[in-house]
Amino acid sequence: MKNSGLDKDSLQTLIDTLASFGKQKLPLKVRLDLDEKDIFPLDLIRELLGPDIGLHLLFIPEELGGLGGNAYDVYRVSEEMAKLDLGVATAFLAIFLGTDPIVVGATEEQRTYWLRRIADEGLIVAYAVTEPLAGSELSAIRTRAERVMENGEVKGYKINGTKQFISNGGYAQLYTVLAMAPEGPTFFAVEQGTPGLVPGKHENKLGIRSSNTSPVTFEDVYLPKQNLLGGVEGKGLVHAQSVFGFTRLMVAAFGLGGGVAAMLRAIRYARERVQAGSPLAEKQGYMDKLIVPHVVRLEAARALIEETAHRLDQGEPELQTEGAIVKLFATEAGNAAADAAIQAHGGYGYTREYEVEKIRRDVRITTIYEGTSEIMQWTVSRDRWRLHLQDHGQYYKKIAASLEALHREHSDVGADAAALAVNVVQETTERCRVGRLTRNQHVLFELGELMTRAEIAANFARYAAGQAAPKYQPFFAPSALKAMSRICAREAALDVLGLAVRLVRGMDAVDDAGIADFERALRSSAITACAKGLMSDMDVVAKALNEQDAARA
């Protein structure tokens, strides 16, 4: 279903509201305090869900009293929240996740009932899926939902089991719980105060310490059958799967927001900090190592987040693979950027008051929750592998051809290098098929990485050529964006070449004679040639970043 979401002005108003809220209620001192003292800011969350803001209304459909925001709106809000404080943002994510089984899986009657209550009462919701023995492997859940019969009919269910790492777990007013019913995994709605529902002690974590993470135990929790979401057992995993495109997009936006927040601080610091006679921001080695590559990767991530959001909003179903690609890339980029931001601050970055070390600890969660990076790599290669077998490699061949065509029209966005990267992926996947390499998990993980890198570069080239989503608000001038896209495409081509050779040769899939052929098929000399111009492009980006920061008061 197509969803046009908020108009531009309304979205901007909402983002301004969040920024003002942040300034008023979450200044630096408060953020550092929540982190250090490990406090879940319940009042603040209540305020976000209260009449003065009502953030949860973003994802409630209009006909049920919400704002009916689309994936694009959710991405922008998620990024802004993440820039502010990833812990607080996580409370919001959990509400969104927890509401999802109702949005996608509930009966019409349940949907109306629960969504209205969430909209009107601003309920804190939790999504209770993970268990001590079931993390990445959801189907391993042990929490049981036993039927309770009356006169030969199912009257309700009795839930027993323990959930682990549940965000908002200690405070939620509503839990959507995945439990194993006789017909398979099934979502149930459980309200706070239901007898037998016992939240455990909250986890003492590395980061997002302002977020509450608790185990939740269910001891003979009785639920009437109306609480079975969708009314039919066994649909839980399907429901969980079908929103991955959306929820992973949100976590990708968290990775982006965390990374951007860290980079903004680092660039400001670098312009002010003078060493050896000039500001750090004017030093090429410093910028080209600690700042520019990270900003490039973050903007490349943004480009695919926007594209994926746009496609979801056009009504394309699921997009789980794209969700996985963008989550993998954006959260890893966010982590690397936050880490570099500490280095860019030197010793000051290692202290609390500059906040970059907190951002580093906070953003660390994004490569773990909603599917680890490894599971994302696996998902990507599994899905694209299937495509490869079905269409005999046409998927990537078509992308490469379209990039070559793009390069003929826009020779300045790095589409040629991106095409080379895509070609490497195509050739390597085919080699893996011929050599039966995908029986190796290592190969699948690496292939997932290769595919991700190439698809990110391909999309960034299109984006820089002006084919961005319609609500796109440029953060950079076209010339800087194009330089970034060229840097991204070169890096992708060079990196996937290295990975591909390492993979195929490393698995002994080619012999000494074969490796030369393989490298030729990868067009390795064309790839090494495309490194040309890298330094001057980095200079362009460094200059743009300096100027952008100078324009901020």
Binding site: D9, T13, L14, T17, D52, G54, E62, A553
Partner: protein, 273 residues
Amino acid sequence: MKILVPCKRVPNPDLKLKVANGSVDLAGTTWQVNPFDEYAVEAALRLTEKGKGGERVGEVVVVSIGPKDTSAQLKQLLAMGANRAILVAGDDSALDSDLVARILRAVVAAEKPDLVITGKQAVDGDDNQVGQILAASLGWPQATFLASILLAADGKSATVTREVDAGVEERRVRLPAIMTVDLRIIGKKAVRNEALAPATAEWEDTQRLASLKGIMAAKKKELREITVESLGVAGGILVKTLRHEAPPARKAGVKVASVEELVAKLHNEAKVI
């Protein structure tokens, strides 16, 4: 009670001003509502509601003069709670306080509000003239730089205060009137309508944000676009801008080695002691 709130959009103060070739370069700027005007809207909203979060009684109409995309700022004010918005098409650079006041006078004539509240000044030009000129040309009483407004139960007058050097000055003003507001007006108990809210009523000590419910409601509210000509106002401005210049960059300071040297410099060079 119908209150008209004239509001101006101003460049985002978090961005540095670029001055080049004798003019201010606003190409890359983002815009926002002048903070003092936002306070004026907050005051108007409080005067028309039964306490914080209470039902609205009366009407708050916001008006701005600016280019088409000023609608973004007006929508924000509608999302805060204003009932209606009017956008008079105009070019920021072809306006001065006199023309703005003349346009507003025509809007006042058409809308017939009981009260006009606006910010004491806009934070871009800091002219601080519109409210005063408008009052004089309408022949209405004016109360400027207000720190508090207590509207009488009969709606015919208000007791207002402003901060002056010696303390607080209190006046009673007949309605209809023009009021301009200062920062203090968003204090918890700074504004109240005796007819609607009890003396115990309190608000947040800040202007309200545009809530998501408000954003939703704003989509259905009227935002009327009109032209200066349709108001029967002749264009033309009195203030001619010759050029803009950035203030000269400050010279680097000097470090002194001792108190003696400091005193000597203050005496001989700065000639302040």
